[in-house]
């Protein structure tokens, strides 16, 4: 059984990752539920933390506290890199707006950062999959 603290951390990660995916990749990330039929939309604005917490408890029932914490740390690191790439993009836009770089340089930076963000999301997805959290991306 996971402690409330770990469950809360997992919920926050999942919701923030869902929001990030919606903003950055324009994708809807949903969590597959085993017992109940259907999925849980992580990008849904009306989603309450309690619903996600119930789903997390249900899905991570057989996992140890250490295992969950280790994966969450990994995800946290990757998410930090996504934030860095997003910041870099905004900084480049700012520089372009102020005329310090030209449009081709801005484009190059954007492409590089977008690639980094896509890679990190893929890694996060496989991390969560390893933990037993199946992410679905409905088209």
């Amino acid at each position: 059984m996971l402690t409330t603290e770990t469950t809360q951390a997992a919920v926050m990660f999942l919701i923030s990752i869902g929001t990030l995916a919606a903003n950055e990749l324009k994708e809807r990330w949903t969590l597959m539920r085993k017992k109940k039929n259907g999925t849980l939309d992580l990008t849904d604005q009306d989603q309450s933390e309690n619903d996600v917490a119930t789903a997390v408890n249900e899905l991570l029932a057989g996992r140890t506290e250490i295992e969950v914490k280790r994966t969450l740390e990994l995800v946290q690191r990757r998410r930090k890199l996504i934030f860095d790439a997003q910041r870099e993009k905004l900084f480049a836009e700012e520089e372009f707006n102020e005329g310090r770089i030209n449009s081709s340089q801005l484009q190059l930076i954007r492409e590089r950062c977008d690639q980094q963000i896509r890679d990190k999301f893929q890694e996060i997805e496989s991390d969560l999959k390893g933990l037993g959290l199946q992410i679905e991306k409905p088209r």
Partner: protein
């Protein structure tokens, strides 16, 4: 609304959008770290989204307005200089023109109390050959008879040297009573031209009498610097034409070639270069993506460019700016000043025309 006001408003709105995006990012990070609740995150996100939407709507409106600004207004305010044709307006402070005599693209830059009219590219071999043929046909200049292919004006002042000697190669030749340039050199900048040659070319291309004493269509070193690094729209100066940091891929300098594979002598010969190093001239329109804020291409690298002034007004030397294809980084700094004797043609010195209009 004036164009300048409109542009500054657009910039401010763009900055506002970026600022709110940054705030959103900070909030998301705070939530992920457990510093704020989900409800708080959503409340803040709503606030930022509303601000972003509002700014984007406003921005859209002003962008449409700026595109609708009639170019007639510009042409009315700025009379097209004699000998040029107006092409289009690139931005509020930059206009594109074509010089009718040699079909050279020029930028008209407005701002900072002065207007500059400067060539977008350095003068090419093809353009210079046309000039030489023209002035030779009216007997203003003559070619030496001893096969050294030197062109001088009627007062004996040297204009250019065309030599097949590898070390002084310039790409132009005198063959069958005409000046010609080899095919591979057509778009390369003219070199081995004296300061006097550059001055005469300026007069010829502007349809001004070659004998007129006071007309010099070259920029002085400060004006050249303005055209290279001054952003007329943002009223700020860049360190290099393309931005704040040195970029080896942005200009034809020694550092550009340092990263390239070394060509064999035969390969270079097949390209028309009789040199034993990898450094060489590149066409004047290369590196157009790394142009200066004014739109001028290759202000740095490829060839040094003659300036109007020198350390002493009556001295025998004039400033050259920008560095050449074999110059190290420190010589390619836009602020670096070097000078060269007016009557000595160099395979590293070319020019572009310009004037304060």
């Amino acid at each position: 609304m004036l164009d300048d006001d409109l542009q500054s408003l657009i910039r401010r709105l763009k900055a506002k959008i970026i600022r709110h995006k940054k705030f959103k990012l900070d909030d998301e990070e705070e939530y992920a770290e457990g510093k704020i609740t989900l409800a708080e995150l959503r409340f803040r996100a709503e606030k930022h989204n509303a601000a972003i939407d509002e700014a984007e709507n406003e921005l859209q409106f002003y962008l449409e307005q700026s595109q609708e600004s009639p170019s007639v207004e510009v042409t009315l305010n700025i009379a097209t200089p004699k000998g040029y044709e107006y092409v289009d307006r690139i931005s509020a402070n930059r206009h594109r023109l074509i010089r009718t005599r040699d079909q050279q693209e020029a930028m008209l830059l407005v701002g900072g109390g002065k207007s500059y009219l400067v060539d977008r590219y350095a003068v090419t071999c093809e353009q210079f050959v046309e000039f030489l043929n023209d002035i030779c046909s009216v007997n203003f200049a003559h070619v030496s008879e001893d096969e050294t292919q030197i062109c001088a004006d009627r007062h004996g002042k040297l204009i250019a040297v065309a030599s097949r000697e590898p070390s002084r190669q310039s790409g132009i030749f005198y063959e069958q009573k005409r000046w010609v340039c080899s095919q591979s050199w057509r778009m390369l900048p003219i070199t081995s031209v004296t300061w006097w040659g550059a001055v005469l070319y300026g007069r010829w291309s502007h349809n001004v009498s070659l004998e007129s004493q006071d007309q010099i269509y070259l920029l002085d070193s400060n004006e050249w610097l303005n055209c290279a690094v001054h952003d007329f729209e943002m009223t700020l100066y860049r360190k290099y034409p393309w931005g704040a940091d040195w970029n080896t891929d942005a200009a034809n300098t020694a550092s550009y070639w340092a990263r390239k594979d070394i060509y064999s002598y035969q390969a270079l010969q097949s390209l028309g270069f009789h040199v034993k190093t990898n450094f060489r001239l590149l066409p004047v329109d290369e590196f157009a993506n790394w142009s200066s804020p004014s739109g001028c291409v290759q202000m740095i690298g490829n060839v040094w460019e003659w300036c109007k002034n020198g350390t002493s007004p009556h001295g025998n030397r004039r400033f050259v700016k920008g560095g050449a294809f074999n110059s190290p980084i420190e010589w390619c700094d836009p602020h670096y000043l070097s000078d060269w004797p007016v009557d000595r043609p160099s395979p590293y010195v070319g020019f572009r025309c310009g004037q304060v209009y």
